[in-house]
Symmetry: C2
Subunit: 221 residues, 2 copies
């Protein structure tokens, strides 16, 4: 508890808001592509599955850019959310692993659309080193630390065979990466302060699996 604190009362923005924003953004970007100019919380709720009141509540934390009787301007909402999330500025990211999965990720438009720029791709296969993948040169994995350090890279995507996952994570973290997106099935450990996302889409399927098989989650008291 600091002795001196700002005079103005400050309200913390709930974490949930930041988890919702990317969902809205995804939807808004697509609406923008389709030429839609304004959208009401009701309609946006229909597309995203989020309660309209919740959407409105989320948005007011960043100033009132809604227009009563009309809705929200898609364009300004997209810009606003991108600014809030920081995806309006480019972020450097490295990809480790140039196999099937790595190729798919490199070509995937999602990263680019959200401000991530793949600065380097690493692989251990000498046949691949020197060739290009999605216009980015593949570099020998032994040079990873050097490149990550030189380019001050914060983000890394791991798309190597599971057995190598942990050692790759250790290496990139050692070189300065602080956010890891782990696409392998292996759970990896990282030191305090490093954020690891184990992207396991099957996890969501499993939740559904249960919902499908049981009518209602009831147990005797």
């Amino acid at each position: 508890m600091p002795l001196l604190r700002p005079r103005a009362k400050l309200k913390k923005i709930p974490e949930s808001v930041f988890e919702h924003l990317p969902v809205y953004l995804n939807c808004l970007l697509q609406l923008q592509d389709e030429g839609v100019e304004t959208v009401s919380s009701n309609r946006l709720g229909l597309w995203t599955g989020v309660n309209p009141a919740a959407i409105r509540r989320d948005l007011i934390h960043f100033g009132n850019f809604g227009i009563k009787g009309v809705g929200y301007t898609v364009r300004s909402m997209v810009e606003e959310i991108q600014k809030i999330l920081g995806s309006d500025q480019p972020h450097k990211i490295v990809l480790v692993g140039a196999g099937n999965l790595g190729s798919a990720i490199a070509h995937h438009s999602g990263l680019r659309n959200h401000g991530f720029h793949i600065t380097a791709i690493f692989d251990s296969d000498v046949d691949k080193v020197g060739t290009k993948l999605a216009d980015v040169e593949i570099i020998d994995i032994n040079r990873a630390s050097e490149v990550i350090r030189r380019e001050s890279i914060d983000f890394a995507i791991i798309a190597v065979p599971p057995v190598y996952a942990q050692s790759v994570v250790d290496a990139v973290v050692e070189a300065g990466v602080s956010v890891v997106l782990n696409y392998t099935s292996m759970m990896v450990r990282a030191p305090e302060g490093v954020k690891v996302y184990n992207t396991d889409p099957v996890k969501e399927l499993l939740v559904t699996l249960h919902n499908l098989s049981v009518r209602d989650n009831l147990v005797p008291t």
Copy 2:
């Protein structure tokens, strides 16, 4: 409100429990591989990042299989969770798209490990049709409806170029699929009753992006 209801009081199991179980399961499977036999809620909390008390609270909904002073038996906990989620029994799933992403998914062990069996892979490329991918024959996409219907398939993974995403979803849903795992960057719509998961791992990166750039989420009141 039914006129006749069971005499015993029934307590609903919170949704959050089912969202946590796959996280525990992932961790437990790996501990099992490493030969660990028991684990305390404290230690499990350390690996998963979940509060130990929350873990204990989640688990008691399914009977008390904890041992005081020791912890939980990894083996029985894995079995129990798999039974609860339904991943102890095989589930048929089809994969649409045999490109880089499709290949990566087909080879990914996560699906198999969680009870999903890829029954068929569909693609529109005549060169690929008839060949095999991860031991599963690639079938012409025009035969998708026929196969899905015949095999009574509930789950479909979409890994086609974004432009085709919606039409593929429409087709598989029409054929009887009720859960779709959409790996494309395109948001797709499906009728009421069909569950669509838009697996967008970049979403999580975006949340982090914000957390990195702002020390604390504060706004003037």
